[in-house]
Amino acid sequence: MEGVTKIVMYLIPIIMFVLLVMYFFAPSGGVFEKFKDAGGKVKEYLPTIGAEKLQGEKVDVSGEHRGEILSLKNTIENMKGKGPCFARYKQFSDLGEEGVTISLNYNGKGGSDFIVTTGKQIVSDLSFTINEVSPCVIAGGKVVEAFGLHYINDKQWKDKPIITNDYASVNQIIISYSANNFNGNIIRVPELGADIVNGVSNNLKDAGVLYTPDGKNICFFPTVTFGSDKDGLSENYLGVNKGMMAIPRQMEIKRLRVCSE
């Protein structure tokens, strides 16, 4: 009798277990399936659990900007050790859409770090160090005046007057896009402060012209719309109106020496 009782005691939970499994997980849609469906509906009303994931994306720039950036890099590389002379890179198209920023930073070790970013991310294959060069600009009242006297004239290259201090060495140059006042590409030189270059909109109408006085300093041309002043040369001298004094024109007719020749 005791044996029978024991068997029954084991059988009851086993049968209960089998029944429960059939009830909850029946292939035709047990209670569990129904509960799952109901759970799906309830989920819509419940708060989200788990932090939202951010979408990763490849850091890159458009082919057009890539070409322009590489053109600038190659032009600078080709100007090394030459000078005084002028060269041209492929002028930047609007950098706005992708938020592209190009900065050239003198690294204190004789070279400059060329860093390209989109938003806040660095485009690693377009960022590199160029040895033995440092950035400079044609900006600041006396510098612009001296540069103008030196090169913006109708004299042949050999007859150009000898004038020194026609460039300003700087530690950093930043090229980007701004929609403030007038949309367009801008060049900024942080160490010049608010009064020189940095307050001017759309001031990189440089026709892709670079100048080196000595093959080491590589100068960019911040521009102004009317009349050259402390903020840079008038954009007319960079070729917006193709007058005979414009630097690209003077390069064509050999009044200015081209670095590649």
Binding site: I49, G56, I115, G119, I122
Partner: protein
């Protein structure tokens, strides 16, 4: 009447016991975290962040709640005989910090800032304070090149820079010198919304912190300029 008094006393006891238990557990965790070595602390922090990310509940206007992190800011002293050695040490810390912080995959780990998330200053956590005792100066470009040239241990066929930039961005001081303390900071993103960023984009401004980031900044700058709201570590530092 007697019953009510009994219940009140019982509840009071329960609350006291709960508080005491909480304080005990908290002190044990803090004690534990202050005594563990750096590697263990990194692992505990990483694992606690997985829990934190997966337990985060967005409750509408009530904000977000989640399990607290068990992370500790680690102070590491280092010296280097040459620039390469210094770069290697710093780059390995960049990669480790990014790994600890779940590779920057999750949005607003510390929750939004301000009412309706209207504060533009991000929240951050200091992974390491790197005390650069003796060695050559480093430039931003050198460190960037090193981040570009060092292979990632966590992402195959990628550099450490690519590993970080898969979901984030980096921000480095222009010049690094010995005798300074540099903080490696995990900076949380700020979620994009119509009024923030999308609208800003139309005006020509770019989203500032729409991704998680790693900042390498002088500790003095971090303390003076307060570029982000620094979250306290488990020891309350």
């Amino acid at each position: 009447m007697i019953n009510k008094k009994g219940m009140t006393a019982g509840m009071l006891v329960a609350i006291i016991i709960t508080l005491a238990a909480f304080m005990l557990i908290a002190s044990v965790i803090i004690q534990f975290m202050t005594n563990v070595d750096d590697k263990q602390a990194e692992l505990i922090c990483h694992d606690s962040l997985i829990l934190k990310a997966n337990s985060k509940i967005e409750a509408g206007s009530a904000g977000a709640v989640s399990i607290p992190m068990a992370c500790k800011t680690l102070d590491n002293k280092f010296s280097a005989v040459d620039s390469k050695e210094a770069q290697d040490i710093i780059v390995s810390k960049f990669e480790r910090c990014w790994w600890i912080w779940l590779e920057g995959q999750y949005s607003e780990m510390f929750g939004p800032r301000g009412l309706f998330g209207d504060d533009d200053k991000t929240k951050c956590f200091v992974c390491y304070n790197l005390i650069y005792e003796k060695g050559p100066p480093l430039t931003k470009g050198e460190l960037l090149n090193s981040l570009k040239d060092t292979k990632s241990r966590y992402l195959t066929n990628s550099s450490v820079l690519d590993y970080i930039q898969k979901n984030g961005y980096i921000n480095i001081e222009d010049e690094l010198k010995d005798g300074h303390v540099y903080s490696l900071v995990f900076a949380s993103n700020i979620k994009e919304g119509f009024w923030r960023n999308s609208f800003g984009r139309q005006l020509g401004f770019y989203p500032v912190y729409n991704k998680n980031g790693l900042w390498f900044v002088d500790l003095n700058t971090l303390n003076k300029a307060n570029p982000c709201y620094v979250e306290k570590d488990i020891a309350g530092k």
